[in-house]
Structures are given as C-alpha cells and as structure tokens.
C-alpha cells in the first residue's frame, strides 16, 4: 500500500530531441568534419589531378608515335573525351582509390581515439552503435566524393580537350551519346559501390587500434594482398570471394549487352564484405573499453 503511495522520484528527463533529429545533427557535423578536413581536401585535389594530368599528357602526345598506346581505355580517350572518365577511374582503381579509402575509413574511430575525443563523443551521450553508423556514413561519403572528383574532373577535362562523341563499346558497336554517357555513369557508380567492402574493412581496423596510421596501412594492405592473391592461379577457387576480384567488372557496362548477373554478383560480394566486417566492427566497438 505504502509503496503505491510513495511518489516515485521524477526521473522523467527533460524533453530531448527525437532520435532521428539527434542522429542527423551528429551525421551532419561528421560529414562537415570529413569533407572539410584539410588533409581530406588535399586528397580529393590529388585524385582530381589524375584525370587532368592524364588528359593533358594524352592531348600533347596525340599526334606522336605514342598515340593510342598504354593500358585499356587509354587509347580511346583522344577519340572521345568520355573515355577520360573511364581511363582515370581504371588507373586509380588499383592503388590510389584504396589508399584514399584506407585513409578515410582507417581514421574514422582510431582518429578520435588517438586525439582523445572519442570518450567525449560517447558521453554526449550517443550510443556506440549510432556513433559507428555515423562514422561509417562519413567514410562512405568520402569514398563517393573521391570517385566523383575523378569522374567530374575527367568529364570536364575530357570534354574540353577532346570533345564528347557517340561511344564505341568494347564489342566495336557504337551507341548514341546519351546512352553512352549513361553507361559511363554506371561505370562510375559501380566503381563507387565496389569500394564499400573496403570501407567496412577499414572501419573494423579502425575500431581495433588507437593508432590511425596502423588502421590506414592495414586497410591498404588488405586491398593489395587481395589483388596479389587474385593473380595466383592456384587459388582460383577463392578468387570469386576476394574483395578486389570483381572491381574490373565495371567493364561489363561497356559491353554490347551488360550481363546483370555479373554486375549483381560483384555487388553481392561487396555486400557480403560489408555485412561481415560491419558486424565485426560493431561487435568490437560496442564491447571495447574506450579509455581515450
């Protein structure tokens, strides 16, 4: 009886903003931080310089004996500026893009930890799951910005230097400019989505350490080791599961009839890496002692 009459202490908190609004405020500030950080801007500028330099080099050598030589797609740039986008993405894919992803995602948690700001973030208060999500979206946004920087500068430089024309596919058939531009856009989108698995791997490494450089390096190493394993014929049975194995499947969009099974398969492998390493990062981050 008396229990029921005893007024419970007023624990009802002061009115808090809704969960969603709080999340978006945190997410916006994280995006501002990631995309506005000077180090990251320099990275984006460096990536954007690749198509510019490539375009200028091809422009000044186009009437020499060197014309049309080099890796795939390079020879087509002088005939059609749209291919500068594809060639630049293709050249950045093996190393520059993984390096960029490694820096952005490896820094996500470990950077806060090493700066001593992680525990303040967690006392805001914000749940660890939500903070991890915010950091993941930030790293993904930077990956998208990196690919877009290459694509936009490639498109502008290619159009200015060589003009844009109907697109000749790998099969030798020609599609109109509109359809061709859509295909190039699809190439860029596929490459961007291909990097999501590496973002998840980097995020996981970032939760393991308080030394951001370690997480960044480990992420880049994963991409490189995956690329090396992909060249060893004896391991062909595990090739389809490798992180980097399907990266070049973006070429599917430049074939006569893109095989959606191939494209879907490549994206499914990325989704699998995201699921596994996202879950690992979550387990680690929500169980770890945050001391700094």
């Amino acid at each position: 009886m008396s229990l029921a009459e005893t007024p419970t202490p007023a624990t009802a908190p002061a009115p808090v903003p809704s969960m969603a609004a709080a999340y978006w405020r945190l997410q916006r500030s994280e995006l501002r931080l990631v995309l506005g950080r000077r180090r990251n801007l320099v990275l984006l500028l460096g990536l954007a310089a690749v198509p510019l330099l490539l375009g200028l080099v091809l422009f000044f050598t186009q009437d020499t004996a060197l014309d049309g030589q080099g890796p795939a797609f390079l020879g087509r740039v002088t005939g059609n500026g749209l291919f500068l986008v594809v060639a630049s993405v293709f050249l950045c894919l093996p190393f520059l893009l993984p390096l960029t992803i490694g820096i952005a995602s490896g820094d996500a948690i470990a950077g806060e930890a090493s700066a001593g700001t992680l525990r303040y973030l967690l006392t805001v208060p914000v749940g660890r799951t939500r903070l991890l999500l915010v950091k993941a979206v930030g790293a993904l946004a930077f990956a998208a910005a990196a690919v877009s920087a290459i694509a936009v500068v490639g498109l502008v430089a290619g159009a200015a230097l060589f003009g844009v024309h109907d697109v000749t596919l790998l099969s030798g058939d020609t599609v109109p400019l509109g359809a061709g531009a859509l295909r190039v856009l699809a190439v860029v989108a596929y490459v961007g989505l291909s990097l999501t698995g590496l973002v998840a791997v980097g995020l996981f490494f970032s939760t393991l350490t308080e030394v951001p450089v370690g997480a960044m390096a480990a992420t880049v190493v994963v991409a490189i080791v995956s690329g090396v394993l992909d060249t060893i014929p004896a391991l062909s049975s595990i090739h389809p599961a490798l992180l980097t194995h399907h990266w070049l499947d973006f070429a599917e969009f430049l074939r006569l009839e893109p095989d959606w099974a191939v494209i879907g398969g490549g994206l499914a492998v990325q989704a699998a890496w995201v699921a596994i390493f996202g879950a690992l990062a979550w387990s680690r981050f929500t169980t770890a002692d945050v001391t700094s």
Binding site: G172, E257, A261, A272, S283, T286, T287
Partner: protein, 396 residues
C-alpha cells in the same frame, strides 16, 4: 548501455558470416539438385535427336577451359582479349545466334573484348585492344553459289558453340568408340543427358569424351574431353547460362566504329558442305592411322617464317584459307584464329615456340595432355591425339 553480453555481441559477426556463406553456397546446390527425372533414352536415340534437331536461336555465356599441361604462358590478361588465350586456362565467351546464318561471339577479357560477327555472307572480327576491324566478304564469283545455298535451309551458323564440337565428336562415334549414357545432370540450369564416348583404341591420348545434351531442345550444352589419367577434363567447353530466344537485331549486325583501323578480306566459299566432309585432303597433307589414332602430316611448312610473324608464310600451311560458311567449321581455335596474323605480332613467337616445345631427334615436339605436335627440321608438321613417340616413329 545495452543488455547484450559481450559474448552475445561477438556471436553476431559469426551468425552474419554463416548467413552470408549460406547465401552464396546454397543456390548452386539447390539448382543442381532440382533436376527432374528425364525419360530413359538409348544412346542411339540421343545421337539421332541431336543430329535431327534444328539449330536453335539462342544466346548465352560459354566458358572454355583448357588444362592441356602446357608450360604457363607469359600472356594472361596483359595482352587483352585475344584468341591466343584459348591455348591454356579459362576463357569466357558470350554467344548469340539466330540459328540460321547470323551470329556473334565475343571473347571477354577483363577490360577488353574480341568479337566475331557473322551476318550472312559477310563477317567481321573486332579487337578492342587494337581497335582493329577485319571485314570478310565472300568472293564476288562465289556469291551466286552462296545465295543458292541459302535456298537450301540447313546451312548452319559457324559458331564455336558446343554444337559444332559435338557434331565432330559424333562423327567418330560409330566406328572407333563405344558409346554409353551416364547419369543425367544439370548443365547451365537445364536438365541434360550425358553421352560418354570412349575410344576403343588404347594408344590414343584421349580417355573419354562427355557430351551433355539439353533434354528439351537436344542442343549440346557442354563437351568435356578427358585424357587417360587426369581427374579433371583436359578441355571443356560449355554453356554456363543459356536462353533460347532470338537475339535482337543490333546484336547480330555490325558496322565498323569510327576511327578503327580496318582491313577488307575477300574469301572464297568452300566447296559444298557435303564435299567439305568428304575425305579429300589439301595437297601436301597426308593422313595416317585411323579413328582416334589419326596422324595428320603437313609438308613444306615454313615454320621459321610463321614464327617471325610473316603473313606470307601462312600460305605455306595447306588448307589454311579462312572459310566462312563451312559447316565443318574448324571449330573454336580457327574461328578465333582467322586473323591470327594481326594479333601475333605483339608476341615474340620464337621465344614462345622455344618455351612450349622440347628438342627431340630430328625436330621439336609439343606434348599436351590431348594432342602431340612434332615439327621436324625438314619442314613437316605432324599432329595427332597420340603420344609423341608415335609421331616420331611416323616421321621417319
């Protein structure tokens, strides 16, 4: 913060990993298990059904794998999609055909493609690596004969489908082999009969050949050739997915892209398909042995010139004129090798030749799991599905 224990939290990635693994492994298992029971059929009935079946309009993906035991070649994907890749390793092709006389086959490289398009009396090859087109048309004087042949419907598309490979295998069947039916299986997602052809000869390198035939359309879906010892087929070509529908017109036509280098080649129409099947052989060629032990001997081949990439040397090879519209179709390698001279210049063929051949008394020998090739010092080339020693004995 939450009511999950750390141990429970670490179980999450394990569960996610298991689910992901199941999602990737389960569908193929289900697909291969769902083979409905097919009516029993005799080998003869199956062979007849294949021979009688009309060529189907279809499109699909063909994977060709060669494990011939050649030393690994320094080619890989560096050279782009090129017919040379078919020598060893795995290659993927997309094929489309309307089942009559229009077809396209594309050999895929990671970022390149080599296409062969046939549109009635003309054909093109296009290499994306070189941006080069070769356009083949039938000689003006043979054109009338070609058109007349078109009135007779059964002039089949000359496509490197399993159909072409199967028909040549079935030609050898009656006389020199025993033919049985193996358990039914699923190939390219379709229920298939498996015809097993085993040579009666014990001196050939070939162990047995399995032809998987689609139960519904009697279209050969896969051909596997085993040597006598290996656990995996030495050569395998088959669909990994197939759709029986007429491809769109844009796939079956071709026009050279702007800016590509282009070459026109006029080819004679080979004798009528019936004549092509007959036993006449080109001058300079002798055939010894029978059935699976057949050895073909070519005389007067300018091997050194060929290795130097000299196009004229190609004319010293008996019967090497490119032939479109020939049903006998020299199958896969020749289909893609039709313009070999344009691709091979990138490779140091002399070095390659030195790597894959070994010196023997009187010449150089290439031994693979299925075929031996002996190049003698006096300019003869002997080819056969027999051990190298047999060729050396024949060469004397």
């Amino acid at each position: 913060m939450s009511n999950l224990s750390p141990r429970a939290r670490w179980a999450v990635p394990a569960v996610v990993g298991a689910v992901v693994a199941a999602a990737f492994i389960a569908p193929p298992l289900v697909a291969s298990a769902s083979s409905e029971e097919l009516p029993a059929i005799s080998p003869q009935q199956l062979v007849t059904a294949v021979a009688e079946a009309r060529d189907q309009p279809l499109s699909g993906t063909v994977v060709y794998t060669a494990r011939l035991g050649l030393p690994s070649l320094p080619l890989g994907d560096m050279a782009g999609a090129s017919p040379v890749n078919l020598l060893d390793g795995s290659s993927t092709m997309r094929v489309w055909t309307d089942g009559v006389d229009r077809s396209r086959a594309a050999l895929l490289g990671a970022t390149s493609e080599y296409s062969v398009v046939r549109d009635g009396p003309q054909a093109w090859t296009y290499s994306s690596t070189d941006d080069a087109v070769v356009h083949y048309v039938i000689d003006a004087k043979d054109r009338a004969r070609y058109d007349a042949l078109q009135q007779d419907p059964p002039v089949a598309g000359d496509l490197p489908t399993p159909a072409a490979a199967a028909s040549s295998v079935l030609g050898l069947v009656q006389q020199f082999s025993s033919v049985t039916l193996d358990a039914q299986s699923t190939v390219a997602g379709r229920a298939a009969y498996n015809l097993v052809v085993t040579p009666k000869s014990t001196t050939t390198l070939i162990g047995h050949v399995v032809v998987s035939v689609d139960a519904k359309t009697s279209t050969p879906l896969r051909v596997q050739v085993w040597d006598r010892t290996s656990k995996t087929p030495a050569v395998e070509v088959g669909f990994t997915d197939i759709r029986f529908a007429t491809p769109s017109d844009s796939v079956l036509s071709f026009s050279a892209p702007a800016g590509a280098s282009s070459k026109e080649v006029s080819v004679p129409l080979p004798e009528t398909p019936a004549a092509a099947h007959s036993a006449t052989v080109p001058d300079g060629t002798t055939v010894t042995g029978t059935g699976w032990d057949t050895v073909v001997q070519l005389a007067g081949v300018d091997v050194a010139g060929l290795l130097a990439g000299d196009a004229d040397a190609l004319s010293t090879v008996p019967g090497s004129a490119p032939a479109i519209g020939s049903k006998s179709g020299q199958k896969l390698l020749e289909e893609f090798g039709a313009d070999g001279s344009s691709k091979v210049r990138d490779l140091d063929l002399g070095t390659l030749f030195g790597q894959i051949t070994k010196p023997v008394p009187g010449g150089r020998l290439i031994t693979t799991k299925l075929v031996s090739i002996l190049v003698t010092d006096d300019g003869r080339v002997l080819v056969g599905a027999v051990p190298g020693a047999t060729l050396q004995a024949d060469a004397r």
